[in-house]
Symmetry: D2
Subunit: 134 residues, 4 copies
Amino acid sequence: MYIYELEFKVRDYECDLQGIVNNSVYQNYLEHTRHEFLLENNLSFDKLHQQGIDAVVARIEMAFKCSLRSGDVFVSKLYVKKEGVKYVFNQVIYRKSDDKLCVRAKVDTVVVINGKLIASLPEFDELVEKSHRR
Amino acid sequence: MYIYELEFKVRDYECDLQGIVNNSVYQNYLEHTRHEFLLENNLSFDKLHQQGIDAVVARIEMAFKCSLRSGDVFVSKLYVKKEGVKYVFNQVIYRKSDDKLCVRAKVDTVVVINGKLIASLPEFDELVEKSHRR
Amino acid sequence: MYIYELEFKVRDYECDLQGIVNNSVYQNYLEHTRHEFLLENNLSFDKLHQQGIDAVVARIEMAFKCSLRSGDVFVSKLYVKKEGVKYVFNQVIYRKSDDKLCVRAKVDTVVVINGKLIASLPEFDELVEKSHRR
Amino acid sequence: MYIYELEFKVRDYECDLQGIVNNSVYQNYLEHTRHEFLLENNLSFDKLHQQGIDAVVARIEMAFKCSLRSGDVFVSKLYVKKEGVKYVFNQVIYRKSDDKLCVRAKVDTVVVINGKLIASLPEFDELVEKSHRR
């Protein structure tokens, strides 16, 4: 089902005074996974922005199942589907050592061109297609 | 309904290459608001942690309505209620200049003592009481 | 000697697994202090950037004297002088509870207009003047 | 001269409103490089901390030569020498595409055991030895 995955390693500065990765950092991991997925498909979040095309997160749901710690290696996976005007990214993060689910997330994004919401972007529709074919 | 509010100002390093506050930073704002709310009620997240009592986020839902930018002042508000073992924080962030809603969030937290989930913490139940009385 | 000061409070997410504010976060504090100082003098780092004028840090020296912790309130102060093409910010951070020096920093900045280094910016020269008059 | 190197890729959330990696983030890169270097030598910053042994940054000097941007891959290198009680890390960051120097840094660290400064730690002296042998 997942069509892209990226491996990370926890960096110590990402851990907070509880000694675990701070919750907000998982949003960084999820974002970086989406942007690397775009890059692999020849789409750059930065270049799109410079062309006036912005992928914007409208809503995010995250379930925290297990905390990552200093030194942990983990795998971040995603697939994307279309729901109305939204491109919905389904994302998970698994700890590599024991394949334990750490985070499950649903990230609703929309595309805005020069500040105006658009119904679809052909380049993104292709990514949805790819997910379907899986 | 909201029983606590805290004023912030966007810091430039919180903005990303789109020129707006990065989505993950709102989780920082929401966390800081909860921790300051605890402090105002003589509860320190850090001291609780040192006593083996951890308030842990189990789930978060965030709707992004309007982006904050460099220089923006905003108000972050919350109230908390009990749902089963969960302490559920309802949080909003409003831009101060025009009272526009920027983020609405629901943050489910649970209390863990020495790694074991507990059903309730009297100190937190009091905060729920305070919310009810409003 | 210092011509501007700003009060902050440590936010828990800024602390790392040692339970103290992570060293990199002091750079955030120092930057925010400089940008707020600019704003007080009717200069916006963001607006300058949009006009193609970028204040760029060329060099930074930081001495860490004492660690800030969860809940600490601190005061960040600065003055600025000119050294050749550089605007040099001298900055200190003091813990408020006991006036203890936490960080002393020297931040060399230069001004770049549309990618080209310039010798001076009248608006910044005024800030240097202000520091001298002190 | 350098005895350890680590490859990174810029993550978009690390870029600020100038569209370049925020200066404070280089401190994160430098720290992560040091900690990974320790790990490669079977020393964990986190585990040392749990044993009451803290490597603390006393002073940092960073020269910013060239800005990293979205998508850039870079290599971070280091060696370490002893100067009195200090373990001094000499670190550089090079952009991979053209081998351009981005950051040169000197990071003075000291070792503190249960809050008390110590003159040397045998495990760290070995890392200095390794640097010398190069």
